[in-house]
Amino acid sequence: MVNVDTLTDKIPTGIEGFEHITYGGLTTGKTSLVVGTSGTGKTMFAMEVLSKGVTIFNRPVVFVTLEEPSDDIKNNALKMGWDLDRYVTDKMLKVIDASPDPVPLEKTGDYDLSGLLTQIAHSVKEIKAEVVIMDSIGSLFYQFRDVGLIRREIFRIVATLKDLGVTTILTAERTQEYGPVSKHGVEEFITDNVIILRNVLEEEKCRRTIQILKMRGALHSKGEFPFTMSRTGIHIIPLSAAELKQTSSNIRVSSGNNDLDEMTGGGFFRDAIVLVSGPTGSGKTLMSATFTGAACENKEKVLLLAYEESREQLLRNAMSWGENFQNYENEELMKIICVYPEAMGLEDHLLMIRTEIEKFKPDRLVIDSVSALERIATVKNFREFVIGLTSFVKEENICSLLTSTTPRLSGGDSVTEQHISTITDIIILLRYVEINGVLRRGISVIKMRGSQHDKQIREFSIDTGGLHIAEPFKNIQNIVLGIPSQSAPSESEQLGEMFKK
C-alpha cells in the first residue's frame, strides 16, 4: 500500500477521511466533478471544502451558487457554524449568486456566458482565490435550456480557471445511483477527477458512500467508502485506517479475573481487541464488568457502551457482582453510554464512539454487545462498521473488550464473529454444557495472538463473588460446536483413577 503520493500536488480538503482515501486531497489546479443524486450531500461537500479551506488552510475561495440564492446558502452554512459573511469581510471568500433570476429571462438571439465567466475571473483575481466551487452546474441547463451551448460555456469556464491555476470543484446531478455518471454528460469534458456520492437504500437501510471514480495522474483508493453527515460536516470512514501504523504492545493488563489471566498467559495485551462470545446469560456482561472494575481500580479510564441494557439495569447488575460503577463515574474513571441500536444509523454509531473516545480518552473500551448492532444494518454495512471501529481503537491503543451474543443457546456463529474474528487478538468462548441433564458452563480461550494460552475448555461458575474458573471438562466432546457428548475416559486416565483409590 502506498501512503504518500509524491507525483501529484494535492490540496487537503479538511473533510474527515477524504485525505486518507485520496492520499492527500484534490489535485491542485485540476477540475473535480462531484456527482450524486438529489440529497446525497453534494452541497454539503462543497460547503465543507469552502469553510475548512478558509478556516483551516487559509485558502481564499470563490463560491458560485447556481441553484440556491446566496442568502439560503449563508443561512444553511451558519447552522453548521460556518460564518460565510465573516469570510467575505475577511476577503477570504467571494460568493457569486447565479441562482435563477426571479425576473424571467427572455431570449432574443445568440448569447454566451461571458458574464458569469467575467464574474468568476474577476473574483479570483480580487481575493487571489485558490479554489473555485460551482454548485451545481446542472442548474445552468435549466436556466438556459440550451444544452449544447451550456456545455461549451462550462468547458470555457473550466479552461479559463485552469489557466488561472485554481483548483475547481463542480457539482452535478445524476438520476440513478448506479448509471450514467451525470445527467448532462458533463464528465465527458471535465475529465480530471470524478467523485461520486451515493445514498443507497438497502434492505430498508440508508447507506451513504463516497467513491473516487477517477483522479487523473494520481493515486487514490478504489471502491465505495461509507460516510455520515453530522452537525460538523461529512465524516468518511476509511476501512483500512491504520493497517500499517499499528504498533504492538508487550505490556499486559488484567482481565479482572485471576483465573482468566492465568488462562491467557498473564492477561490481555494493552492494545488487544478481545471478543467474548457466548449465548445469552452465559456471563459476558459479568466479564465486561470485572474487566471494567480491574481497569478503574488501576486508575485506567474505561468507556462502556451498552446496547442491550439501560443504565439503571447496568448499575444494579454490576453492583450485584461487587462493582460500583457509579463511584467510578464520579471519579471520572468511567463513562457509561446506553443507547438503543435503533437510535441511529451504524455510521452515526461509529462516529459517536469515535467522538466519545476522542473526548474521554479512555484506556479501555467495552462494548456490550457489538452483536446488538447487527440487527440495524446490512451485513456489508456491519462489516464496515466493525473494521472501522477496530482499526480506530487499534490506532488509539485502547484495550477493547467486545461481547457477542450467539444466535442459539447452544452456541454457533453469529455474523459478528464471522466478520470480527480475524481482526480480534483474543477470542474467548463461553458455552453451556449439558452433562447428565445438568447445565454447566464452559470457558475456553480459542485464540490469543502473540502469547501462549490455556487450550482446555474449563468449567466455570458464577456467584456473588463473580466468575470462578475450575478444572477442564473431562471426557466431554464437541462443546464448542454446541453438541457436547460424553466419551469414554482414556486408558491413562482410567489407570490414574485406579491408583488414586
Partner: protein
C-alpha cells in the same frame, strides 16, 4: 413616458456588436418615445458584472419603467424584442 435601458456587452465580440446595433436601430425607429441607453462593457469594467449579477451576455435590462425586464441575446429577433419591451 420615458424608457431607460442598460446593455451589458463583452468587448467587441460578434454578439455584442450586433446587439448594440439592433438596440440602437430600435430606438431610432421609435423616436417619438424618449429613450436612454447605457452601454456597459464588462470586459473593461468587470466589477459591473458583479454588481448587476450578469450571467449571460449580451443582456439588456429595461430599468425604467417598472417592472424591470431582462433580455438576453443579440437582440436579432426584433419583433419579439419590441413586444417584450412594450412597443407594440
Amino acid at each position: 413616458m420615458r424608457y431607460a435601458f442598460k446593455l451589458y456587452v463583452y468587448g467587441q465580440t460578434g454578439t455584442s456588436i450586433i446587439a448594440e446595433r439592433n438596440i440602437r436601430e430600435l430606438i431610432e425607429e421609435i423616436r417619438d418615445i424618449e429613450c436612454s441607453l447605457e452601454i456597459i462593457d464588462i470586459l473593461t469594467s468587470p466589477e459591473k458584472s458583479m454588481e448587476d449579477k450578469i450571467i449571460a451576455t449580451p443582456t439588456l435590462v429595461r430599468t425604467d419603467p417598472q417592472p424591470q425586464i431582462k433580455l438576453i441575446g443579440d437582440m436579432s429577433d426584433t419583433d419579439f424584442l419590441k413586444a417584450m419591451l412594450g412597443f407594440r
